[in-house]
Symmetry: C2
Subunit: 660 residues, 2 copies
């Protein structure tokens, strides 16, 4: 009997544990095919009486420790209770435990990269085979004899040999007496060959963001992440945001080519860094997966991004792609292939497909909202049956851009803000330190890091706290009356600003920018809710850096996201990158994301009149009454301001025009 599967049955006396596992359909790994080389089939014979199963499992029921196992132990180590399943022979009834790491379809839980649990099921597997040597009476070619060996030794029948492997096969098969390790992709294509036994097969998952490029190096057999690294996207020198890079391409005949060259070089350097960190070999990398927004996606693929820069934002393709890594100038194994997750629509990219794969809103119960906020907000909403996606033009305010003292989330940026409702005095925290500004240690922090500006999550907290403190009203107007109570509120032309820190003010324009951004985000979400026919959501996941840093309480205070139990609102981490990693480790997940993306209903905000209506309505900060009933239990939302309806209408119209 095998544990933990519970599978049992009769096998001939003298069968190896590995063969018994195969006969009984037990998931027990092996690369070398039972030669005591790879050590993948380690098992633990369990001694004892199992009356419920009618088994008395004793040490005599299994053959003794072999020389082969001793050699393996000397070479690679083997725990005392472990045997190699291919060497341990069954003499009588035995209970055998298959540890998780000996299972082919092992489940890997990776908290560090927000993977949840993934069934490791890579598209590339290694197999050691012994090919029949050629003989005069066997006119079959080297490739055909290899295929015969794969069929008899690994039960792989529907396999072809990639034409690029043939020359290597000819040489490598003769190097070690017709014993080779082959990599088989999708159980159908021999894509690489090594003489004799080869152990390592690696993959890289990369999230190509417009600001940063981040990747993981993983062992495709175990699913273990061996290294993670990130670097700036060097395209930044052609333009901070996506649109300015597209503009660069419009202005420069060879612009697209330059942008492609630098991003591919960055991807290759990232791979170099990952390989260096893990002391691995580039040539052991056989799979690369990639996600990115549509413009990054088109640029690393060498396609013109200009059609994505203007309506109707036409993608070259909305399907997943598999292509040789050499097409992307990545220096890995020559048989390496890159899998690029599908873009969903012209504004909803492969990064969102990755986020969907990581977060799986289509599998969670209830109405689920997944939001990834960047220059645009990608919004995915589903109810387990349907899944809708849209992109909303939030602009870069949430990233700290277009804010008077705004800056990217970096050490020294203000990320947390509290304003005392009585004194209207602020307390702040900056990235890089846990200290609040009224803590004794803060001075040295400020000296070290500087207090340089305010990042996206900081400005949201600042505006929300100003609202909660009554400094601004529901329309976002800084009340000049507050200037009487505190010298923090100062006249600033025809409007007023709030002095948060030396040289760092929250201006009326800053507040307006945040209002525009949050109205766009909320309107996009509302539009999808309309299409789905729902009035509330059961869970909200915030993906990306913004989602990780933002305090959801403040996001809800300002009305970025619809009302929801705060316990059901959480960060999805770098969901896009996690999705790339999942696609790297699991072939089934690729089919899943392709199918989900194909079924997604793509909603175009630009052509929906209701989006405009929702946008206008969402400019104000939510009323303490409905629809934020649940939020009210947590924060104290002030009474409506005394602004007249006509004033409000006028103002809303203006800001709406600004948004166009």
């Amino acid at each position: 009997m095998f544990t933990p599967s519970g599978r049992r049955g009769k096998v001939p006396v003298g069968s190896s544990v590995l063969n018994a596992a195969r006969m009984l359909g037990v998931d027990l790994d092996s690369v070398c095919g039972g030669r005591g080389i790879c050590g993948r089939c380690q098992v633990t014979p369990t001694m004892g009486d199992f009356p419920k199963h009618g088994i008395v499992s004793s040490a005599e029921n299994v053959s003794g420790f072999t020389d082969v196992e001793e050699r393996y132990r000397d070479r690679k180590g083997l725990a005392d209770d472990r045997r190699l399943g291919c060497m341990a022979l069954l003499e009588a009834d035995l209970v055998v435990d298959v540890p998780a790491e000996s299972q082919v379809h092992r489940q890997v839980v990776r908290k560090d990269v927000n993977l949840g649990s993934v069934d490791v099921d890579p598209v590339v597997r290694l197999h050691l085979v012994e090919i029949d040597p050629p003989s005069l009476d066997d006119p079959a070619g080297d490739a055909e004899r290899l295929l015969r060996a794969l069929a008899t030794q690994w039960n792989l029948t529907n396999v072809e040999v990639d034409r690029d492997v043939l020359a290597d096969l000819q040489r490598d098969a003769r190097a070690e007496g017709w014993s080779v390790t082959v990599a088989v992709r999708d159980d159908s294509m021999v894509c690489a060959v090594w003489p004799g036994y080869h152990e390592q097969v690696l993959g890289v998952a990369i999230d190509v963001g417009s600001t940063t490029v981040a990747g993981h190096l993983a062992d495709l057999r175990s699913g273990a992440v061996l290294a993670s690294a990130g670097r700036m996207n060097p395209q930044i020198r052609f333009g901070e945001d996506l649109m300015s890079r597209v503009s660069y391409v419009m202005m420069n005949p060879s612009g697209a080519e330059e942008l492609t060259t630098v991003i591919r070089r960055a991807l290759d350097e990232l791979i170099g860094e990952l390989v260096h960190a893990a002391a691995a070999e580039r040539r052991d990398i056989l799979e690369v997966t990639l996600v990115g927004n549509p413009i990054m996606h088109h640029l690393f693929l060498g396609w013109d991004p200009r059609p994505l820069g203007e309506a109707p934002f036409a993608l070259v393709t909305d399907r997943a792609l598999s292509l040789p890594t050499s097409d992307l100038d990545l220096d890995v194994h020559p048989a390496g292939r890159a899998y690029v997750l599908p873009c969903i629509a012209g504004h909803v990219g492969a990064d969102t497909a990755g986020a969907i794969l990581a977060d799986r809103p289509h599998l969670r119960p209830g109405v689920q909202l997944l939001v990834d906020v960047g220059t645009n907000a990608e919004i995915v909403l589903g109810d387990g049956d349907r899944l809708l996606a849209a992109s909303s033009p939030t602009g870069p305010a949430f990233e700290g851009a277009q804010i008077s003292s705004g800056q990217r989330a970096a050490p020294g940026a203000i990320e947390r803000v509290r304003i005392d409702p009585v004194t209207l005095e602020p307390r702040i925290r900056v990235i890089g330190s846990e200290a609040w500004s009224d803590d004794p240690g803060f001075e040295s922090v400020a000296a070290d890091l500087g207090v340089n500006g305010i990042c996206g999550s900081g400005i949201i907290e600042a505006v929300a706290e100003l609202f909660l403190a009554g400094v601004i009203d529901r329309d976002g107007v800084v009340a000049g009356a507050a200037a009487d109570r505190t010298n923090r509120v100062v006249a600033d032309g025809r409007t007023f600003s709030y002095r948060l820190w030396d040289g760092i003010h929250i201006t009326q324009n800053d507040i307006r920018a945040i209002q525009l951004a949050k109205a766009a985000l909320y309107a996009g979400v509302r539009l999808l809710m309309d299409h789905l026919g729902v009035d509330e959501v059961d869970g909200i996941r915030l993906a990306g850096a913004f989602g990780s840093h933002i305090d959801v309480k403040y996001a809800m205070t300002l009305g970025l996201i619809p009302d929801c139990d705060l316990g059901e609102v959480s960060s999805a981490g770098n969901a896009a990158g996690s999705g790339a990693l999942i696609a790297l480790l699991s072939g089934a997940s690729r089919r899943e994301v392709e199918e989900v993306v194909r079924k997604i209903e793509k909603i175009e905000t630009a052509t929906e009149p209701r989006f405009q209506e929702h946008f206008v309505e969402a400019m104000a900060i939510p009323h303490r009454s409905a629809p934020y009933a649940r939020l009210r239990t947590i924060v104290d939302i002030p009474e409506p301001s005394t602004t007249t309806t006509s004033q409000r209408r006028r103002r809303t119209r203006r800001t709406n025009q600004e948004a166009e």
Copy 2:
């Protein structure tokens, strides 16, 4: 009603002839999809009374000549009785003739390249499509909208877009208002795209011989051969015959690479020559097919030929290959693909597969023998049910090598020999002239061309005529007694020679070399006959240059081939090259040759004791009695020599040892 198919049926009044043809399943070509551009759908409305079919077909029953047709006529010409099927609308009953050139599956008979008739059914077809422009409400990518258009406009559903086409598609689709011509390979893969209407799609078929490389450029739509050309194989400078080239590789570390480089360059230059001759464009070439013996095959594919130079002669693969032409450094369309016919065994190459495809011994009735004589003889024997193949080590004697005055078949080489049985005086003819040496004009021929040596077919005729004249006996011994009758027979050490021409002797060693070669060939054929269980053959086809030049009567006199009605013995021309051309023009033929080759029983002569026995027996020149009963009716075979059986046996044993 359509002629010649006889298909008829009801279609809505006002249907175009093209649409009617599609509705009724009539084979009527179109590239532009009914836009009056391509002119592929030309038809001839036939006027008259067809009482048997109940049709009165009159000029009023079809719509009038259109402006579009006038423009087409001005631009490209249109016969008076022709209409464009897409423009001519059916008003009532009509009889419409579809000329052969308007059929998609037109049959092409090409006498010049020995093609027989081929159903043109190329793997690549062009289709003009109108893609829906992108719109905000249609998030589908360019590629997906193209696929939609192919489905609705060409009924091509199971199609993908090659990833290499995507960048071109993005650009070209926008160049002419979303109208593009695409090349679709195997009805399943869009492999190339052009803006607007594109007409030309070409292919090249190449036979890579060890001495010469020959190719045809063909129009893939019509099947027309636009140009043919040949050139020397530049590898000759590394060794005249195959084995010396393999030796070169064994001696030189970079030898294989050098041989690959020069042959690929020769193939590319040949393509350049073909394109130049036809005033065509390299970029219109989308398909290349290749045949060659196993060593040529491995060398142009960039594989090590050394395993083919020694037992067990292991091929890298015995299957057909399809690979990008760029892998072979051929400068054609970037989406070009090369199809390499399968090798059959280590000594039986893709050239033999080509010959099988051209000659189709598997489809002809009776026991059919196909022989291609080069350095080795490739032998194929079948009975309509089974098909067997072997290679027999004839050596290069049949090519004039290892013959004292032998030379390659080239101008000035003796190719025809007659010896007067009474005077023992010879008459000869040389390549490059029709004059016999006793014709008055021969002197100037000899002065022009020289009489330089004797080629393969010449030496066979010389030996056969010497035998028929009684100068040599059945054991091939030059009878010294003849020296008494003529000064043409001269002592030459311990043996005698025959002086054929000034400085050109047929020596005892020459005769021995021919005996060894012909015994090997015959023994190979006999071995296959044994395996097939037959005693005679119904038809013999001789492929290759040797087969074209040899006089089969003499081949049979010497016993190169088994007895057969001479009317059933013929040259198959350059069957290998014809096979490459067939594979170029017809996708179905590729599947046919792959299937036939897979089913072929490969016989290895080296390990068959019976081959040795047959070889020993075949050293002698056949007796006038059985088994050459049929041959005896044509040539007068002399009585057996007086050599004793024991002498013969001794001699045969010696020559057998020489052969080993």
